[in-house]
């Protein structure tokens, strides 16, 4: 059976790198490539890059076993800046390319970097299908609610009526929630963070990196050139505690500077309440459950200004991964039919001999 490849000449196997002996201790700097970073000054992408480089050493993979695959967009440049393997592919197709890579190379840790246009517009279908298949790839979508690289057209997350270069009279396209799409696509890990929430982003990327299966992280990112301040209303330092709610599994959804606000279910509908008012206590507050799809659905749909914006892990469940099932089928086939014998295969079916 010809199914094991590794980068090394005589590779150390194709399991998780954690089983490799004596890893050198890596630091953030090991993940900084020699390429000059070329985003606009002030772009939120810088912070995402920094946090990504920061968390990389945490996963115990040698850096040569990590691959960043991107589509096209400003976000798509990130792989150039990572001192890992990288592949800057074509618009919208990164999840498909990553699917093939991970299937061929289960030993690699694969990340996909994409934008709201790349992932949800041209690439929407690949996104959905890689998620439903539980391809063990971490998809990080930079959501600046605009097309950056092509200089400012509306994206599928742009607000209805938004005036952009391509919509001087305002868009007529109702936006979609990336998280709701990921949920409908049966992603096994769904999370959201914000470019300026550096620690939260590190924690989120960390959780993503440690998940096994289809991982979708939306990072709200500021494009200071074409959509400046898109998330400012609820992410600015002064208001963020009151206008976002940080999700933690098993903990009530409490938020606010004074930690006295919470989300409660009235019937099955969410509402914001104040603890201490109208007899409301912490016990009334909805407890986050990363395995509950209805909670995930609700969280994927609430947004500022009606609600605080949920950040953190919305959903985390476990299901066999795509590459594992493939590998298992190969093993099973080999176990039941024996390792493929080509001579036998060529000679199978009805054959005859000519003397």
């Amino acid at each position: 059976m010809t199914d094991t490849i590794t980068g090394a000449d005589n590779g150390a196997g194709n399991g998780a790198a954690a089983t490799l002996p004596e890893l050198p201790v890596l630091t953030r700097k090991d993940f900084v490539s020699d390429q000059e970073v070329r985003w606009c000054p002030g772009c939120g992408d810088y912070s995402i890059l920094a946090q990504t480089q920061k968390v990389m050493p945490d996963f115990g993979y040698p850096k040569e076993n990590i691959v960043f695959i991107s589509g096209i967009g400003c976000s798509g440049r990130l792989p150039y800046y990572m001192n890992t393997y990288g592949f800057h592919t074509i618009h919208g197709r990164a999840p498909a390319i990553a699917t093939g890579l991970k299937a061929a190379r289960p030993d690699l840790m694969v990340w996909v970097i994409t934008g709201d246009g790349d992932a949800l517009s041209i690439g929407g279908n690949h996104l959905i299908h890689s998620l439903r298949r539980n391809v063990d790839v971490r998809i990080i979508m930079f959501n600046n609610r605009i097309y950056g690289l092509t200089k400012g057209q509306a994206s599928p997350t742009s607000e209805l009526g938004k005036i952009t270069k391509s919509s001087p009279y305002g868009t007529v396209d109702f936006p979609i929630s990336p998280l709701a799409i990921a949920l409908a696509a049966e992603a096994t890990f769904i999370a959201r963070s914000v470019d300026t929430f550096t620690e939260h982003m590190q924690a989120t990327l960390n959780a993503a990196g440690n998940h096994h299966g289809s991982t979708f992280v939306e990072v709200l990112q500021n494009c200071n050139i074409f959509n400046d301040g898109a998330h400012r209303e609820f992410t600015d330092r002064e208001v963020r505690e009151d206008r976002t709610v940080v999700l933690e599994h098993g903990k009530p959804m409490i938020f606010g500077k004074d930690r006295n606000k919470g989300i409660r279910l009235a019937g099955h509908q969410p509402e914001v309440v104040t603890i201490g008012e109208n007899g409301i206590t912490e016990a009334d507050i909805l407890v986050h459950d990363e395995t509950d799809p209805l909670i995930a659905f609700m969280l994927a749909h609430i947004y500022w200004p009606e609600f605080p914006v949920p950040v953190g892990v919305l959903r985390r469940v476990s299901r066999p991964t795509h590459h594992q099932m493939l590998v298992d089928q190969l093993a099973q086939a080999t176990a039941t039919r024996g390792a493929g014998d080509l001579t036998k295969l060529l000679n199978s079916g009805e054959t005859w001999k000519v003397e």
Partner: protein
């Protein structure tokens, strides 16, 4: 004749024939493909050379008895070397009026016509617009009609088995098969054991089919309507082990062989499409060979995943037909830019657009050569016969791996589904096509090329110290970083072209069947090989100064093509398109090549090519006896 079968055997005479072509035709539900395949296997195992052409409708099950529902299977078996399933049948087996109507036009006058007269009911006749029953109205006089009450006889034979009427009806194709076995003096044992095996869980069905088979045979034996039986002796094939193989089967097997010879696993990303789907079905069964198959959400994802797998060091493979290839073009351009090995199979079908999905054509040559943005050269190969599909799968990979390039492998519906005997190769005779991965750190640059092949190094993720980034943006020569430098882009564009052009030195020269110079060269490519070869052979036998050359390498072209072409007064290029290879040849060699172009969804007939060659020779003042 009456529906009563005569009960006594009548002596028949025996005649030896060199070659016979039979076409089985019936409703999609009548099992004609199975009947044809069984006869083919029998003939092959007997030692005949064979060639087959299944021709089935686009509909899964068109309404019973309708013209669009007609399914046909033509096979030619011979005691000599043959290359096509025959221009026209000698015998047409028509299981209903629709099958008769759809196929009669191709049966030459005097040909044998065996029909199931029970199916010629007023209802069935009306469905296809027969005002009167052709079996009785004298309209079939020019053919040799054998009208057999197949259904009646068959159900009688199966009486008492407890099968439903529908089950009984489904066995009548075996009756027809049995009758043909009798007519050509064939042994039925292999078919009997095939039935036993196939229906081992439903013995009553097995029994029904066997009884039908024997009833057909016995009908031939005991009636006097056939006065002659025919014998087609075995052909003198090259000694060896043989099996019968279609192009799609050979392609799939060839890919597995390539994987072993390259010592790398195949990753096959594909999206179903007629007539390429069978490759997926087959490869999906080869998991114990380390083959990973992936039914993608569309053709773009399929080729994308294959590229991802190649990036990881596997052999990324994808296949489709014309409309799906159209969708893959952007990603194929990426593979050209990042210079990764990739094989793309195009099983062509009649276009444009959805066209005629089950029919053959050679309409995609220019698409695969030029259907990408920018200057985007890649290799294009085209096997000529089902058996060559095996060899060229390996050849495609040899080139893709050695030169780090995408390779397009052109097949078509005729090649894919047609079958011929295949001399099973001995693995020991096949050479390794393995290439190393780059592992040495020293002097590593992602676009530093091998001096001979111009291939860049294949440095797989997971290799310590070779971390680097690739992508669809233009690359700096050697270094591989993104570059907008004007001269670099020009240089890289020329380098990509030079790499592909250079492969011409690493492929066999174009071979000629026939005189090395003369009046006419017939130049072909792909599945038209058999028809061209046969037509040219006939004309050679008739004394013409004519030769045949067949291109398996469409890009780059073999180095000697220009010299070959210039040795003949005329060059004729028959293609199942409007002249795609012809355009390339004219542009490259400035030769006034003539085209013979038909897009009828069908392979060429030998006779039409023969006639066309005679016509072209006549323009030289040459007349052929």
């Amino acid at each position: 004749m009456s529906t009563e079968a005569p009960l006594k055997a009548t002596p028949t005479t025996q005649k030896q024939l060199e070659r016979v072509t039979i076409r089985f035709a019936g409703d999609s539900g009548d099992g004609m493909q199975l009947t044809g395949t069984q006869f083919t296997k029998n003939a092959a195992a007997f030692g005949n050379d064979i060639s087959t052409f299944p021709d089935y409708p686009a509909e899964i099950r068109a309404p019973a008895g309708s013209l669009p529902g007609v399914s046909g299977f033509q096979l030619s078996f011979s005691s000599t070397d043959i290359h096509t399933p025959g221009d026209a049948p000698d015998v047409l087996v028509a299981m209903n009026p629709a099958a008769l109507k759809a196929n009669l036009g191709e049966l030459p006058a005097g040909g044998a016509l065996i029909v199931n007269e029970d199916a010629f009911t007023p209802g069935n006749l009306q469905k296809v617009g027969y005002a009167s029953n052709p079996l009785g109205d004298g309209s079939l006089k020019q053919w040799n009609l054998f009208s057999v009450p197949v259904s009646t006889l068959n159900s009688r034979a199966l009486e008492g088995l407890g099968l439903t009427n529908k089950q009984v009806d489904l066995t009548k194709n075996f009756f027809a098969l049995g009758l043909m076995f009798w007519l050509y003096e064939r042994d039925m044992a292999a078919t009997v054991s095939w039935i036993d095996d196939k229906f081992k869980k439903r013995p009553e069905i097995a029994e029904g089919n066997k009884r039908a088979l024997k009833a057909g045979y016995n009908f031939g034996e005991t009636t006097e309507i056939f006065h002659e039986r025919y014998v087609v002796p075995p052909a003198k094939l090259r000694p060896g082990h043989y099996r019968n193989i279609t192009g799609n089967e050979a392609t799939a097997l060839g890919m597995v062989a390539a994987s072993q010879l390259a010592e790398r696993p195949i990753f096959y990303g594909s999206y179903p499409i007629t007539p390429a789907s069978d490759i997926l079905h087959q490869l999906a069964g080869y998991k114990n060979f380390g083959v990973k198959t992936f039914q993608a959400e569309d053709e773009i994802a399929a080729v994308g995943a294959a590229i991802g797998a190649s990036y990881g060091g596997a052999m990324g493979l994808t296949a489709s037909s014309g409309p799906g290839i159209a969708l893959k073009t952007e990603a194929m351009g990426l593979a050209v830019m990042v210079e990764l090995p990739l094989v793309v199979i195009d099983v062509q079908r009649a276009g444009p657009s959805t066209g005629m999905p089950t029919k053959t054509e050679q309409g995609d040559l220019l698409q695969v050569l030029f259907g990408r943005n920018g200057e985007s050269p890649l290799v294009v190969l085209a096997p000529a016969t089902p058996a060559e599909c095996f060899t060229f799968a390996i050849e495609a990979w040899r080139i893709a791996l050695k030169y780090m390039t995408p390779v397009v492998y052109m097949s078509d519906a005729f090649l894919a589904n047609g079958a011929e005997p295949w001399r099973i190769p001995n693995l020991a005779d096949l050479s390794s096509i393995a290439v190393p991965n780059r592992t040495a750190r020293e002097g590593f640059y992602p676009y530093l090329r091998d001096e001979t092949t111009l291939a860049r190094p294949w440095a797989l993720p997971g290799t310590p110290g070779l971390e680097h980034r690739i992508g669809g943006l233009e690359k700096a020569d050697v270094m591989g970083n993104v570059s907008y430098d004007p001269d670099n882009h020009h240089r890289m564009t020329l380098l990509r072209q030079a790499k592909i052009d250079g492969i011409a030195a690493d492929i066999p020269p174009l071979e000629v069947h026939g005189p090395a110079e003369g009046d006419l060269l017939v130049l072909g490519w792909g599945s038209t090989y058999g028809a061209i070869r046969s037509a040219v052979k006939r004309l050679q036998d008739r004394g013409a100064s004519i030769a045949h050359a067949h291109l398996r390498y469409l890009n780059p072209l073999p180095e000697n093509v220009g010299d070959v072409l210039k040795a003949y007064k005329r060059v004729l290029i028959p293609e199942l398109n409007l002249g795609q290879l012809r355009m390339l040849i004219r542009a490259r060699y400035l030769i006034d090549a003539i085209g013979y172009n038909r897009v009828r969804g069908k392979p060429f007939r030998i006779a039409e090519l023969e006639a066309e060659a005679v016509r072209v020779l006549a323009t030289l003042g040459v007349t052929i006896a």
